[in-house]
């Protein structure tokens, strides 16, 4: 039998190690089945050696090749597996623990949470903790607490803003009503001023009427004085006539006086003209007395008429003055009373309203003060939180 050269044997050994079945090795190397069996036996016996490789390793390599072929894997993929194996070994997961580790990983991973996502989430969590210098639970608790605090403050702020808006809405119509009241008050004051002016005019008219009355009274007094004077004059004339009548002087008496004068003139030797002059002088005196009497009568009539007129005028004036005064007084008093009553009522109502406005204003002022205090407290609290956070530095 011809000896198979060593190179051919090594080729057969290579195919053997690579896990090819005997049929393939026959086709590839061009040797018979029996020769392949012999070459493998030589390998097992150690008569055929591959430099640097023991037979155990040869078997291992063939077994490895078998397994790779069986699983349809390439050597590069096997190399990747080796890399993974090394990594597992660095975290002290030995081969006998690999299956358990795999089972545990499968068990831990939820169906709807892929391993990749799980790993990425863990990495992000780790970065977050490093960045903040705090554990995740602390960060989560702080977040929840701060969010609750923010929600609480937001709720309070919303409530305060709502209250503020409601108050503004309530104050607006009130302010409009106050302005309306102010306008009404001004109108009433104007009305009161007009009534007061009318009252002043009535008083002025009353005063003028009083002055007219006093002037007429003065005239009446003057007429009365003139009447008294004329009366005294007439009295004196009447006295003279009374004396002539008392002495019984008549026409016959006058003829006798003429005769007496003529005779006397003759007897006494006094010229007629002189005696006539004396006589006419005496008649003149008599005429004067008659004239005076007539004038006295006329004057008396005038005086009586004046007295009557004065009385009438005085009565009329007094009546007019009295009536006018009474009317003016009554109207004025009535108007003044009504105005006073209205003004008093309005004053009472406005005073009452003003008291309510003051109370409401006082309450609103108090509310504003407490609101200001609240804002101050909020600022103080915020400052306090900043101070605490600032001063609680890590040692």
């Amino acid at each position: 039998m011809k000896e198979i050269p060593r190179t051919k044997k090594l080729e057969v050994a290579q195919y053997y190690i690579l896990g090819y079945p005997y049929n393939d090795i026959e086709n590839r190397a061009g040797v018979s089945h029996g020769s392949i069996v012999n070459i493998v036996k030589e390998l097992e016996d150690g008569r055929l050696t591959i430099p640097g490789t023991s037979f155990d390793q040869v078997n291992d390599l063939r077994q490895l090749s078998f397994d790779l072929k069986k699983k349809g894997l390439e050597p590069s993929q096997a190399l990747l597996g080796l890399l993974l194996f090394e990594r597992l070994q660095t975290i002290e997961i030995t081969p006998e623990l690999v299956d358990k580790w795999s089972e545990l990983a499968k068990k831990l991973l939820p169906v709807d949470f892929p391993a990749k996502d799980f790993l990425e989430a863990a990495l992000r969590l780790n970065e977050l903790e490093k960045g903040e210098g705090k554990p995740f639970t602390t960060l989560a608790e702080e977040y929840v607490r701060l969010k609750e605090g923010v929600d609480k403050f937001k709720s309070k702020v919303d409530s305060l803003f709502k209250n503020k808006e409601e108050l503004i809405k309530e104050v607006e119509p009130l302010r409009a009503q106050l302005e309306s009241l102010e306008r009404t008050r001004n109108r009433l004051e104007n009305d009161a001023e007009i009534q007061t002016r009318k009252l002043q005019e009535l008083k002025s008219k009353t005063k003028e009427t009083g002055e007219e009355k006093s002037r007429l009274s003065r005239e009446a007094k003057e007429l009365q004085g003139r009447k008294t004077k004329l009366s005294s004059e007439v009295d004196s004339k009447e006295e003279s006539l009374r004396r002539l009548n008392d002495i019984g002087l008549s026409d016959e008496d006058l003829l006798r006086i003429i005769t007496f004068i003529e005779r006397t003139s003759q007897n006494e030797g006094i010229s007629g003209s002189e005696l006539k002059k004396k006589f006419f002088s005496a008649l003149g005196l008599f005429e004067d007395i008659s004239g005076l009497e007539k004038r006295q009568k006329a004057e008396m009539q005038k005086v009586n008429e004046l007295v009557k007129r004065e009385a009438i005028l005085s009565g009329e004036i007094l009546g007019i003055i009295s009536s006018t005064s009474q009317k003016v007084r009554a109207v004025g008093e009535d108007a003044a009373s009504q105005i006073q009553q209205h003004v008093s009522d309005i004053k009472d109502q406005l005073n009452g309203l003003l008291a309510n406005v003051l109370k409401a204003g006082e309450a609103i002022g108090e509310m504003r003060q407490i609101l200001k205090k609240g804002e101050d407290s909020e600022k103080a609290l915020a400052k306090f939180i900043e101070e605490v956070q600032g001063r609680l530095g890590r040692n």
Binding site: D112, F118, G133, N356, I364
Partner: protein
């Protein structure tokens, strides 16, 4: 305007003014209550901040201990983390599972770092473990400081004004009956 309308308007105005007055008084009372809550809030926030600072320091301290002595702590921590994550998964929610697991893990870390604490009650509030108290400064125990702060919180809830953080620190410094002073280790 007729007398009846005038009277009616005045009566309406009085009613509205009375309503405004009572509403304002109601708002005033509510605002007063809110304002009264401000002072206790300060104390509450101070306590909360001190506690959070202590927890953060304990966490860091626990982490430091693990890094320093990994072999000793490693197994225990791995078991704790795995177990806690598994526990979270029972809830069938991936976020809850992750959060619950890591939360428990953090708790374990905090537990490793927990110790007694001291506070430097001066301008700056500094918290340190007992075994790291610096030589300078006057230090009080965190527990005694918390007790003193509780007293202040009672006063604040009764309406007392506490003022700024400086005022509060000053008042706490004067709570000598409550505070327990400690000196630096020899």
């Amino acid at each position: 305007m007729s007398d009846s309308r005038w009277t009616h308007t005045i009566a309406d105005l009085k009613k509205e003014l009375t309503w405004i007055e009572s509403s304002s008084q109601g708002i005033v009372s509510r605002l007063e209550i809110i304002q009264q809550e401000t002072e206790p809030l300060k104390i509450e926030f101070l306590k909360h901040s001190l506690e959070k600072e202590r927890e953060a320091l304990a966490y860091q301290r626990g982490l430091g201990l693990i890094i320093r002595d990994r072999k000793k702590m490693g197994t225990g921590l791995a078991v704790a983390a795995g177990g806690l994550i598994l526990g979270g998964l029972i809830a069938k929610d991936k976020n809850i599972a992750l959060k619950a697991g890591l939360s428990g893990f953090d708790g374990v870390l905090e537990g490793f770092g927990e110790t007694k604490w001291a506070v430097l009650l001066q301008k700056e509030l500094v918290i340190v473990p007992y075994d790291a108290i610096p030589a300078k400064g006057t230090w009080v125990t965190l527990e005694s400081l918390m007790a003193a702060i509780d007293d202040l919180e009672i006063e604040a809830s009764e309406g007392k004004q506490l003022g700024t953080l400086d005022n509060i620190i000053q008042r706490l410094q004067q709570s000598r009956g409550k505070l327990i002073y400690i000196g630096p280790p020899n």
